[in-house]
C-alpha cells in the first residue's frame, strides 16, 4: 500500500515508470520579463531656477561598457510644456516615448488643457509602479520638468520601482553622487532655487556635466540641454528649448599623473 495520497489513483511508477514532468511544463519557454537593462543611458541632471527648469543628459547609449550609440537623444519634450529625461534602458525609453507621443496627441484632440508636468509625472509613476508590480519593470529613472497646476516650476523623479520624489535639484545614476552635491551647494532649498537666474542655472548644470564626464566612464562629451520656461513669462515665447552642447574648457593634464592602470613604463 502506498500511503502517500498524492500517488493514489495514479499509474504506478514501478510498472509505468515515473511521470515525465516535462509534459506539465507550459509550452515552449516561460514568458520573459526584463531582468536587467541592456542598452543604457547614464545620468540625467536637472535644476530649478526662478522661471523654470534646466535639464541635461549626454547623447550616449552604452551596451555594457561599449559606447554603442553616440548620438541618442535622452531628453524628450512633451506637449511643448514639459521635458522628460531618461536614464536606464534605452529600449524602454523608446517604448515610453512612443506611448507618451500617442497620449499627447490624444490629449491635443480634447478641449481640455493639456497635461502639465505634474499630471505627467503622476501618470508615469503609476505606469512604472504597475509594471514593477507585475514583475515586468520599465527599467528607467525618469526626471520630469515643467510646471504644476499653480504654474510654479516643477521637477520630480519616478524610477523603475515607482518611487517618486521632488527636489529643487535632481540627478539620476552617477549624477546623484557626483552632480547632486554641486547643485545643492547653489540651490539646497526651494527658496534658493527661486533666486537663480536662467544663466546661473545653466552654468551650474554645465559644470555638473563636465564633472560627470571626467568621472563617469559611461558618459559622453556631447549632451543635450533643455530649458523649460514659463510660457507667459518674461521670455515671451517660452516653452521647451533643447540644444546640443559639447563640453569645453576641459583639462586632462591630471591624467598623466594617474598611476596603476594600463600599460605604464615608469
Amino acid at each position: 500500500m502506498d500511503h502517500r495520497p498524492q500517488n493514489w489513483g495514479r499509474p504506478r511508477d514501478d510498472i509505468y515508470g515515473g511521470y515525465d514532468v516535462s509534459y506539465m511544463a507550459p509550452n515552449a519557454e516561460p514568458n520573459t520579463h526584463t531582468q536587467s537593462p541592456v542598452v543604457t543611458g547614464t545620468s540625467v541632471v536637472a535644476l530649478k531656477y526662478k522661471d523654470g527648469v534646466i535639464m541635461a543628459a549626454d547623447n550616449l547609449a552604452s551596451y555594457g561598457s561599449l559606447a554603442r550609440f553616440p548620438s541618442v537623444q535622452r531628453l524628450m519634450p512633451f506637449a511643448d510644456t514639459s521635458v522628460l529625461g531618461f536614464s536606464g534602458d534605452v529600449s524602454d525609453m523608446q517604448y515610453i516615448s512612443r506611448h507618451l507621443t500617442s497620449l499627447s496627441i490624444d490629449e491635443a484632440y480634447g478641449v481640455q488643457d493639456p497635461l502639465n508636468a505634474a499630471n505627467l509625472h503622476r501618470y508615469l509613476s503609476k505606469l512604472l509602479y504597475s509594471r514593477r508590480s507585475k514583475f515586468d519593470p520599465l527599467w528607467n529613472n525618469i526626471l520630469i520638468a515643467g510646471f504644476d497646476s499653480d504654474d510654479k516650476p516643477f521637477l520630480a523623479s519616478a524610477d523603475l520601482l515607482g518611487t517618486t520624489y521632488s527636489s529643487p535639484s535632481l540627478a539620476s545614476g552617477y549624477g546623484s553622487m557626483l552632480a547632486q552635491p554641486i547643485m545643492r551647494k547653489y540651490a539646497s532649498t526651494e527658496e534658493d532655487a527661486a533666486k537663480l537666474t536662467k544663466e546661473q542655472a545653466i552654468k551650474i548644470v554645465k559644470e555638473c556635466m563636465k564633472v560627470l564626464f571626467y568621472r563617469d566612464a559611461r558618459s559622453l562629451d556631447k549632451y543635450s540641454l533643455a530649458v523649460v520656461t514659463r510660457k507667459s513669462g518674461e521670455e515671451g515665447g517660452g516653452g521647451v528649448q533643447i540644444t546640443q552642447e559639447k563640453l569645453e574648457g576641459m583639462s586632462w593634464k591630471f591624467a598623466d599623473r594617474i598611476k596603476g592602470y594600463g600599460t605604464q613604463t615608469v
Binding site: S22, H33, L161, T163, S166, S167, S176, Q180
Partner: protein, 268 residues
C-alpha cells in the same frame, strides 16, 4: 536547502508531505539554478512615531527620503491626512503615516483614501478611526503574498473622543496602542517611548523590595509634554541613524481638526 539535511524529522516534513509532488522545474524548486531576479522593493529609510493622548493624538515623521547612502530629497512627507471631503484634506480627521518602501506607501495611502471616499459616498458620513483601521488591515492582508513593504500607523480620535493609535506590520496585523514608533529608527525610539509614555521601568522610590516595588501610576500625557517627547525622540534618532533627518513633520489631531507643523532637523 538546510531543511533537507536537518536531523529533525519534522523539518524534513512528514512522510506524506506534498513536497514529493513532481514539479515542472525541479531545480528551481530547490533554489538552485536561479539567476539574478528583479527586486521590486527598496528601503527608503526614515522614521515615524505616533502617541495617543486623552483627547488628542500626535503623528510625526521625518521628511528625508533615501536609497542606500543617497538622500533623494530632503522633503518627502510620510504623514498624511486621510478621508477628507476635498482633495486638500482640509476637513480630514484621520492621519496615516507610512514608512519603508515609499512607492508602496504612496499606493497604500491612496487606496485607503479612496476607500474612505467611497465609504462617505455610500453611507453619507465619514469613516470612524476604528473602521478605517480595520479596512487598512484588510488592505494590507490582501497583498499577503506580495506585501506592501510598509510599516503603517493610523491615528485619530475614537467614538468617545479619545486619542487612538493603530500600528501595523506589512501584512496587516494590527493593534491599538498608546504609542508606536516605526521605520528605520523604530528600535531607537521605541524603548524611549516605553519608558516615557508607558512609564516602563519607572517605580515609586522606596515603595518596596523586589516584587513588592510599586510601578509609577500610568496616566495619559498632556499635549505639551507629548510634543516635547516627539521632538526629543527625533533629535535622538537623527543623531544615531543616517537615514533619519532633514525635517520633522508633525500632525496633531484634536476635536478641532488636524494641525500640521514642520520643524527643521539636522541635515547631515
Amino acid at each position: 536547502m538546510s531543511a533537507l539535511f536537518s536531523q529533525n524529522p519534522l523539518m524534513n516534513g512528514p512522510n506524506y508531505s506534498f513536497s514529493d509532488t513532481p514539479v515542472s522545474h525541479p531545480n528551481e524548486a530547490h533554489g538552485e539554478l536561479r539567476e539574478h531576479r528583479f527586486n521590486p522593493y527598496t528601503d527608503n529609510g526614515g522614521s515615524t512615531l505616533a502617541i495617543a493622548g486623552a483627547d488628542f493624538a500626535i503623528v510625526a515623521g521625518d521628511t528625508r527620503l533615501t536609497s542606500g547612502y543617497s538622500i533623494h530629497t530632503r522633503y518627502s512627507p510620510k504623514v498624511f491626512k486621510i478621508g477628507g471631503t476635498t482633495a486638500d484634506q482640509k476637513d480630514a480627521t484621520i492621519v496615516l503615516s507610512v514608512v519603508g518602501f515609499a512607492a508602496d506607501g504612496t499606493a497604500l495611502r491612496e487606496r485607503l483614501d479612496a476607500a474612505c471616499k467611497m465609504y462617505r459616498y455610500r453611507h453619507g458620513k465619514p469613516m470612524s478611526v476604528n473602521a478605517a483601521a480595520k479596512r487598512l488591515s484588510t488592505m494590507l492582508y490582501q497583498k499577503r503574498f506580495f506585501p506592501y513593504y510598509v510599516y503603517a500607523i493610523l491615528a485619530g480620535l475614537d467614538e468617545e473622543g479619545k486619542g487612538a493609535v493603530y500600528s501595523y506590520d506589512p501584512v496587516g496585523s494590527y493593534e491599538r496602542e498608546m504609542c508606536r514608533a516605526g521605520g528605520a529608527a523604530a528600535s531607537l525610539i521605541m524603548p524611549f517611548l516605553d519608558n516615557q509614555v508607558n512609564f516602563k521601568n519607572q517605580h515609586i522610590p522606596g515603595s518596596g523590595e523586589g516584587h513588592a516595588i510599586q510601578e509609577r501610576e500610568k496616566k495619559p500625557l498632556l499635549r505639551e509634554q507629548v510634543e516635547i517627547l516627539v521632538k526629543d525622540a527625533f533629535d535622538g534618532a537623527v543623531e544615531r541613524h543616517i537615514e533619519v533627518g532633514d525635517g520633522l513633520q508633525m500632525m496633531v489631531i484634536t476635536s478641532q481638526g488636524v494641525e500640521e507643523h514642520y520643524l527643521p532637523l539636522k541635515k547631515d
